[in-house]
């Protein structure tokens, strides 16, 4: 009961994470249904209609009900602790946004009860999503649910922005805040600018479907392309909204387990801002297959390639941080290193897509599916797994089991790469995505079977990870306040932190306030 009315940022954060986990199971099951259906050529386990609902719900769930809420949860939980505050600036707004988000998720899933879950894909292109082509109530549920979720995301982003702007500990200027806080700050500002574009497109779509408007109906003077423009003006920044906080987590974890401060803090922070600006100028690369004119394509292709530069800078900063460090390979660090590799694969296929002719060849094939899963699973989810192993002792007061952790790590790495890497080849030999089955062409059957087996291994890995979390919560070794010998302020609070995080905030004079506290003979602010 105290959880239902909780305003404390730590409880709201954990509620966010738990709801995301719940929907992660739902989205994972949808993925497994699809992989089972695709295991062999000409299988007929489920109908094409159900298959369409599965990939639509899988995509929508994983983006809006898993990735965004879990990152918001980590932000709401960690940001006040990291900046030495006792609470977020707008605690009631923060709690209300969580419940709004949950209502949105439940609304989306209640569409199954009408027998017609949304089935127009997670980006619901018009005119497919219009009434004549999607007559069921599914798309209406989808649009209303996403309106609620968009409003909730904007609210929680405002909460985080105001918290970071006003609640920092004395002495903590913006040049000294931890990088996770920096990246959450930038991602939140991006939410404020990007999510209204989703809201506007949804309002227009709903007017078309439920009122008398014809915005996306070409026979009445509307333009289906408008949907694509508006949706991707939201959609591409969205990619960075769900990956920047993950970058932030990696920027906290790698230095601690390499026993070195982050290499090039100013570059990591400013390249984040560069990514934020560039991400608003690349949306057309989702639409290269639309005939838009050569100069148009050239500009957006160049911008899309440009965005690889600040992203690459971060990768090199992380590698340089590890270089020559005394690396401790805990499970958290292993996931962080795996993140570097997996995310780089996703980034490279992204640069391939920025090349217009390559995009024309590969658009709407499984190559796209492979790319987005390397970015969002290999990137965001691996960073999240690292983050759970790293911050679990702080949140629960107990350590996670390292042996189980290692097993789940190798199962997840093996399963994920087996499941998704072969999709690159399937895309290259021309298998289109979003089709419920395929004929028995050379290689199609074996490669798909490999992918399905990989997905099954991945499920075991994830389940093992969940077992580890549950068992460690009850039987784990006591963690103490600072089990990793870390440097940021959250480790100065108790584990788990009391309702009031800090009775006394340490003096902040550098980027590593706890290091200064532990090493009064050589504090950072003396050196730099």
């Amino acid at each position: 009961m105290t959880w239902l009315l909780a305003l404390d940022h730590k409880r709201v954060g954990i509620l966010y994470m738990l709801s995301a986990l719940l929907f992660f199971f739902a989205g994972g099951m949808e993925a497994m249904v699809m992989r089972a259906q695709l295991a062999a050529p000409n299988l007929k386990l489920i109908s094409p209609e159900i298959y369409n609902q599965m990939f639509t719900m899988h995509g929508t769930t994983m983006i809006f009900l898993v990735a965004m809420p879990v990152l918001t949860g980590f932000g709401v939980y960690l940001v006040p602790l990291m900046i030495g505050a006792n609470q977020t600036a707008l605690p009631r707004l923060g709690a209300a946004c969580f419940w709004l988000q949950l209502v949105g998720g439940v609304l989306l899933y209640s569409s199954f009860a009408t027998g017609a879950a949304p089935s127009a894909g997670w980006f619901s292109y018009a005119p497919l999503s219009e009434k004549p082509f999607s007559p069921g109530a599914g798309v209406d549920f989808w649009a209303f649910a996403l309106l609620l979720i968009a409003a909730s995301s904007i609210g929680s982003a405002i909460n985080l922005i105001v918290t970071i702007a006003t609640e920092r500990a004395p002495g903590m200027i913006m040049r000294l805040v931890p990088l996770f806080v920096w990246m959450t700050f930038v991602a939140s500002i991006m939410i404020v600018f990007a999510l209204p574009a989703l809201g506007a497109s949804l309002v227009l779509l709903l007017s078309d479907r439920l009122l008398v408007a014809h915005f996306f109906d070409p026979s009445q003077g509307g333009a289906p392309l408008l949907w694509q423009h508006y949706f991707w003006i939201f959609g591409h920044p969205e990619v960075y909204i769900v990956v920047l906080p993950a970058f932030g987590m990696i920027s906290e974890i790698i230095p601690v387990f390499s026993r070195k401060p982050i290499f090039g803090y100013p570059f990591v922070a400013t390249s984040t801002v560069a990514i934020a600006f560039l991400s608003y100028g690349v949306w057309v690369h989702h639409m290269f297959a639309v005939a838009l004119g050569r100069n148009f394509l050239a500009v957006f292709a160049a911008a899309s390639m440009l965005i690889a530069v600040p992203t690459g800078m971060k990768i090199f900063s992380w590698i340089a941080t590890m270089w020559g460090g005394a690396i401790r390979f805990t499970t958290a660090m292993m996931f962080a290193v795996a993140f570097l590799l997996e995310f780089t694969v996703g980034g490279l296929s992204g640069v391939a897509f920025a090349t217009v002719p390559v995009d024309w060849r590969l658009t709407d094939t499984y190559f796209v599916v492979a790319h987005i899963h390397y970015v969002l699973f290999g990137g965001t989810v691996f960073a999240l797994l690292a983050a759970v192993h790293y911050w679990f002792p702080k949140m629960s007061g107990r350590m996670m089991d390292e042996r189980l952790g290692r097993w789940s790590f190798w199962l997840i790495v093996l399963g994920f790469n087996t499941a998704v890497f072969v999709l690159h080849f399937l895309g290259l030999i021309g298998m289109p995505r979003r089709v419920y089955t395929y004929p028995n062409l050379p290689w199609f059957g074996p490669l798909n079977l490999i992918s399905t087996i990989g997905a099954a291994i991945l499920v075991f890995g994830i389940l093992l990870f969940c077992c580890n979390v549950a068992m460690s919560f009850f039987f784990g070794v006591e963690a103490g306040d600072d089990p990793w010998n870390a440097w940021t302020l959250e480790w100065a609070a108790a584990s788990p932190p009391a309702l009031q995080n800090f009775t006394q905030v340490p003096q902040v004079r550098s980027r590593r306030p706890l290091w200064d506290l532990k090493h009064p003979e050589a504090p950072d602010w003396m050196v730099s």
Binding site: I154, F193, P196, A200, V203, S207, V212, A213, H214, I233
Partner: protein, 139 residues
Amino acid sequence: MAMFLISEAVFFFLLILAFAYFGSMPRRIAPVGWFFAALLLLSGLSMWRAAAGSRLWRCITIALGIAFLIYQAILIGNTFLIGNTFFILAGIHGLHILGGLIALAIGPASALRPTALYWYFFVLVWLAIVLVIYFRSAA
């Protein structure tokens, strides 16, 4: 509030752009439209006085807001009848005005400053809509 208004600005910018692009706007502004736009602008001025703490000006702002809302309701009914989708844009703006009126009527004194900011913003949004219609019909 400023952050919230930024996101609202993006939202209305894209909506107005879509409506203007497809010509889903009224073709001209009747004199009564100018009158009520001016009325709403006046309510922005009275809100400025109300934000300084005057109860009287607060009541005047609410009265002007209600008058504008009634005009907007009639406008929405008319455009709906002739099949023009402009009523959607006007309706979304009207809902925001209604939200502002509620905050103004029952909000605590501490909420007055952000409410005023909110009010100015939506006065400006309506002016933007009216001007877009005017320049489109003039062109």
